[in-house]
């Protein structure tokens, strides 16, 4: 019983990180229909920037995370402006290839600057706490709480502000949005900014319990794709729920099935979903 609760808690932690990454991916997909394969590299970069700020400049964890959010967000804006905008009318194949090119570059870049070694990130919240028979570090609790705060803020931004509502409008109907005078380019850049920022938050939160290395984004991005297919490509609630579902399935699978194959759970899930329903769960309409 204790193991089960402990694993559910772990699942919640991993799920929080997955949800944040998947949110960024689904926002970009919803608006621009780009499956951004480079999103995992943005995640990885976010981790490195936070780490460097802390180790090189002795900046505090939160400030380092803030710098990282801004930096990765701006990188997202640059990618939209100088890569994806040029490909907006190109065949869908081109977006994917361009994103893969960016991914390869960013990974090589990280390796060039920071080397191929694994780094640990020391957060100020490494204390071990015991509550009701559960043992966990404060950092894990922080991940869960911070993820919820970020999701609530994002929700308020999208629903309650004008700028946020333009994003929603554009994800529902691009032509319609441009007809009512929404500046598509601005919204696209903003979306990439948010998407990059979310990736940076996710990796900054997760790095203290994982490791920082050039390939850290690989599995995360693949799983994020599984999540947004699970939750419906472009769906925001779908990304959140899907993230938690995957988090739980993995932590339970690792305990009760096999730790070796826990990373395969997501992909088997995906293979099953797409086998049963080729357009993904919760696909809109028939066309």
């Amino acid at each position: 019983m204790d193991i089960l609760i402990q694993q559910l808690f772990n699942g919640l932690t991993i799920g929080s990180v997955y949800s944040l990454v998947a949110l960024g991916l689904t926002l970009v997909y919803g608006i621009l229909h780009i499956p951004n394969f480079a999103h995992g590299a943005l995640y990885m970069l976010g981790g490195y920037i936070t780490l460097s700020m802390m180790t090189l400049y002795g900046v505090n964890y939160w400030l380092a995370m803030f710098v990282s959010i801004i930096a990765v967000g701006l990188l997202g804006v640059l990618l939209e402006r100088f890569v994806f905008r040029l490909l907006r009318d190109a065949p869908p194949l081109h977006d994917k290839i361009a994103a893969i090119g960016i991914l390869l570059f960013l990974e090589a870049f990280a390796q060039f600057v920071w080397g191929a070694d694994f780094h640990t990130m020391n957060s100020p919240y490494g204390q071990v706490v015991q509550v009701m028979g559960l043992t966990f570090t404060l950092q894990r609790l922080l991940i869960i709480v911070a993820a919820i705060v970020v999701m609530v803020l994002l929700y308020l931004f999208l629903k309650k502000t004008y700028t946020g509502s333009t994003i929603i409008a554009m994800s529902q109907n691009r032509e319609g949005a441009s007809l009512v005078g929404i500046n598509i380019n601005k919204v696209a850049m903003l979306t990439f900014m948010i998407s990059g920022g979310l990736a940076a938050i996710a990796s900054s939160l997760a790095s203290p319990i994982n490791l920082v290395f050039p390939g850290m984004g690989h599995l995360v991005i693949l799983k994020a794709f599984v999540i947004i297919i699970l939750g419906g490509m472009g769906s925001i609630p779908g990304a959140i729920v899907g993230g938690y579902i995957l988090g739980f399935s993995e932590s339970l699978g690792a305990t009760y099935v096999s730790n070796d194959y826990k990373d395969i759970i997501a992909f088997i899930l995906l293979v099953v979903i797409l086998t049963v329903k080729p357009t993904g769960l919760f696909a809109k309409g028939e066309r």
Binding site: V83, L87, I97, L106, F112, L222, F225, I264, F267
Partner: protein, 331 residues
């Protein structure tokens, strides 16, 4: 009679390819070229599906690995004759390809790309973790070189080069014939618009599946040749890094062109061999290159060359016309 024609150019290339072992001063270049030819065969497979049929597969490094491991296991563990094992490896890859294709091809566009990316990853993970069969990260060692056929043996660098060259030529001839046939036109029609293809009576699923299986066959064949050439294989040959390398060769050379896979593979393999210091960081250059190419030259070097040729021809034509016009006025 013009001397520089397409036909003469091809003959010259063939002569060069066949005499290369005599020109090359050492085995190093021969080794490198043989390896590029093997990669090129896999890239032709990806091109058939992604370039001509319009489905971007990210699982082909996985099929390459399946071909390689099948040959490795059949020769090392089952101690089968090399040629039987080669045929077996291709059959195994095709059967797995058929099963995966049946499911994967129900999805479209982005879903297909993501699905195949995950399939590729599953293949990699299975090879990596199933130590009882594949020896896991330790890799499979002691894979034999191609067995001799009568008096012909394949234990020198030159003989292996010729063997791989022959396979490559066969693949290119097959690709050429497919593209210039009704079957190839059918694939292109599917790439162009699947809805339109169905309205003109094309069974899209059947055709996509054939293209998919044939493309996995090429990948598997390349993998099997790789295993017997390098004699050692590890799970890494099925990794996404290899997949992205192959994709890069295809994109730089020209996706959806006949010469693209060969041009791109040769160029990039030779380039990265000569820029050894770059090996680790080559993606610093190749990554942006890939992105720039897809933005500005979506059909790669081969596509750019066609474009240039066409422009030159148009220019010539308009000059001829202007010339005739002037003459007509003078007369």
């Amino acid at each position: 009679m013009r001397i520089v024609t397409k036909r003469n150019g091809l003959i010259a290339l063939l002569i060069l390819a066949f005499s290369f072992p005599y020109i090359a001063q050492n085995d190093y270049y021969l080794h490198m070229l043989t390896l590029s030819f093997i990669w090129a065969i896999a890239v032709y497979g990806i091109n058939l599906l992604s370039g001509y049929t319009g489905y971007l597969s990210l699982a082909h490094a996985g099929f390459f690995a399946i071909g390689a491991y099948s040959l490795g296991l059949l020769t090392v563990k089952a101690e089968m004759n090399f040629w039987l094992a080669l045929a077996g490896a291709c059959v195994i890859t095709c059967v797995i390809g058929l099963l995966i294709g049946l499911i994967a091809l129900r999805t479209k566009e982005h879903f297909f790309a993501i699905y195949t990316l995950c399939v590729g990853y599953i293949i990699y993970l299975v090879i990596d973790k199933w130590e009882g069969l594949t020896e896991g990260v330790r890799g499979l060692i002691g894979i034999p070189a191609p067995g001799s056929i009568g008096p012909i043996t394949f234990d020198t660098a030159a003989s292996q080069y010729y063997l791989v060259l022959l396979f490559l030529l066969a693949v290119i001839v097959i690709m050429y014939r497919i593209i210039h046939s009704l079957t190839g036109r059918t694939y292109i029609a599917i790439r162009n618009s699947e809805d339109l293809a169905r309205t003109i009576g094309i069974s899209t699923m059947k055709n996509k599946l054939t293209a998919f299986v044939l493309s996995t066959f090429f990948a598997g064949l390349a993998g099997a040749l790789y295993a017997s050439f390098i004699r050692f294989i590890g799970p890494d040959i099925g990794s996404t890094a290899i997949m992205f390398d192959l994709l890069m060769y295809l994109l730089v050379g020209g996706i959806g062109t006949l010469s693209g896979p060969l041009v791109g593979t040769l160029l990039l393999v030779i380039l990265s061999q000569n820029l050894q210091f770059l090996q680790k960081y080559r993606m610093l250059i190749f990554g942006p290159l890939l992105t720039l190419i897809i933005i500005f030259y979506p059909r790669g070097l081969a596509g750019a060359a066609f474009e240039w040729q066409r422009k030159r021809r148009d220019k010539k034509l308009s000059m001829v016309r202007a010339d005739m016009h002037m003459k007509a006025e003078e007369g």
